[in-house]
């Protein structure tokens, strides 16, 4: 089991944001974390990456990583595309990608990987020497995903990849994500507001409500259940 979470509580200072969350993801699986604003989806991703204070158990590859520093979790092979993308705005597109591979050994492989990323996202190649801050929202999102992939991660965490993007771009992005999962076998946990799209990509879904997990079911089941869709997912 790649990622195992049990009895997870998370805190922002004095405020508790997650209560006893539990789930697991295996190699190559694509899962989505759904819920309304403030449900705790972003917090869950942050908890995995050691960005918030936690109590409970988080295991990656059997190793207990709760309480680890972010950079140490990343070095195990967990890539996080955060809310707001976290692009290095002042650096160039190419430098952003190179940074993604910072923990790997230098060499030809990295250059080859960069070319592969450009293969997925041709628009980035056109802008490779441009300052990342000048890219459009969609391009920055692609850059963020590209940077995460440069790690050759085993688990990819995506926080609202569709946020602020035009629908066509979002479809394009999700298609690329599917292709990446098929080609490289990287597991994905996607936090999304756009439930419909997420349920198409993922095979399994979790539903959070005010910090608690209220649903843990295959995507098809959740997608088919009209009452769940209406009350929780808004469509």
């Amino acid at each position: 089991m790649l990622l195992e979470i049990s009895a997870l509580d998370a805190f922002y200072g004095q405020n508790q944001a997650l209560y006893g969350v539990a789930f697991s993801i295996d190699e190559g699986q694509v899962r989505t974390l759904l819920g309304a604003n403030g449900a705790g989806k972003t917090t869950t991703l942050r908890a995995i990456c050691g960005m918030v204070r936690v109590a409970g158990d988080i295991r990656f590859d059997g190793k207990r990583i709760s309480g680890w520093a972010t950079e140490d979790v990343v070095r195990l092979g967990v890539a996080h595309v955060p809310e707001g993308r976290g692009t290095f705005l002042r650096l160039s597109v190419e430098e952003n990608l190179q940074l993604g591979a910072m923990t790997r050994k230098a060499g030809r492989e990295i250059a080859a990987d960069i070319e592969r990323i450009y293969g997925h996202f041709p628009r980035l190649k056109e802008r490779r020497t441009q300052q990342a801050g000048t890219l459009s929202g969609g391009e920055q999102q692609m850059l963020a995903v590209g940077r995460a992939l440069m790690l050759r991660p085993r688990l990819l965490l995506l926080d609202e990849p569709s946020f602020g993007l035009a629908p066509l771009i979002v479809e394009e992005l999700f298609a690329i994500l599917r292709r990446i999962n098929e080609e490289t076998g990287v597991a994905m946990l996607i936090v999304e507001q756009n439930a419909a799209l997420a349920l198409e990509l993922a095979e399994h879904a979790y539903l959070l409500e005010t910090g608690r997990m209220v649903m843990d079911a295959p995507a098809a089941v959740i997608g088919a259940d009209e009452s769940i869709r209406r009350s929780y997912l808004g469509y």
Partner: protein, 292 residues
């Protein structure tokens, strides 16, 4: 015309001093994304250490090397002990911490080595270069070393992975962690390098301005101005800015009436501010476009 050329050369010679300091300022800025007002005092203290070693009989270049290493270590220590506890505090609080460091270093140096002026040797000698009387060997040496350091820093930041990691850690520590960079180490490395750079600057400057606890105060301001003029994101800009400030200050002093020693500094600053009005990011600074 002769006078103009002479003053320009003299300005360049002074400017080499400011360029050195400006480099150290930009260096620390690249590492920790703020200015360290105690930079000059750290350099001064390092120079005193070198002086003390030489007084004990250590040969120049050995003392030079030891001082650089000790300064690097001291920089890392200052990062751990002074900067780390306040790094999440508001920026103004951090500035006050730097002011405190300034005060501690200045006062300690005065207490340990007192305020009498001391002379500091130069490895280059003071013979006029090319016999022209416009620039002497030490000044040429300063310019030379500054340019070499500049080249080294440029290659380091633009061409190496470590340099890229440092830039990333300074620009966006959260994202840097997300790509696995140990931000704490990067910051410490930045402080160490800045301290070492400052030590070199101090040891180059001391033969000219003479060694005493307040020797860097005037120089730091010019160095700071030079760094800002050049644009804080660019080591090249820092060096150009430093030279420019040196020349500007000298020309202002010579050619503008009423400007005696006192007003030279103010005038130089005013000119820099005017330049900043038209190029708010300095001469070489990159404009960062942020999309709302």
């Amino acid at each position: 015309m002769e006078l103009l050329l002479q003053q320009v050369m003299a300005g360049l010679a002074n400017g080499a001093i400011y360029a050195c300091v400006a480099l150290a300022v930009v260096m620390i800025y690249q590492a920790i994304d703020h200015l360290n007002f105690a930079q000059g005092e750290m350099a001064m203290f390092s120079t005193f250490i070198a002086w003390q070693l030489m007084t004990w009989g250590v040969p120049y270049w050995v003392a030079f090397a030891i001082t650089i290493v000790l300064s690097f270590i001291a920089g890392v220590l200052i990062d751990r002990v002074l900067f780390r506890p306040v790094q999440n505090a508001p920026i103004l609080s951090q500035i006050v911490a730097f002011i405190a460091l300034f005060s501690i270093l200045n006062s300690s140096a005065g207490q340990i080595w007192d305020y009498t002026i001391k002379s500091f040797p130069t490895p280059f000698g003071t013979a006029p270069l090319f016999g022209s009387g416009m620039i002497d060997a030490h000044e040429a040496g300063m310019i030379g070393i500054t340019l070499i350091l500049l080249g080294f820093l440029y290659a380091f930041f633009r061409g190496t992975r470590l340099g890229l990691a440092m830039r990333a850690a300074a620009a966006n520590p959260v994202s840097a962690r997300l790509v696995g960079i140990r931000v704490g180490w990067m910051t410490a490395l930045g402080w160490g390098m800045a301290a070492a750079l400052g030590a070199i600057a101090g040891m180059l400057i001391a033969p000219v301005v003479f060694l005493e606890p307040n020797m860097m105060i005037g120089v730091l301001l010019y160095g700071f101005a030079g760094a800002v003029l050049g644009g804080l994101t660019s080591p090249l800009g820092a060096v150009v800015g430093g030279f420019a400030v040196g020349v500007l200050e000298n020309l202002a002093g010579t050619f503008i009436p009423y400007v005696g020693r006192e007003l030279k500094l103010t005038l130089a600053l005013i000119m820099i501010v005017i330049v900043l009005m038209f190029r708010p990011n300095g001469l070489f600074g990159r404009m960062v476009v942020s999309r709302v």
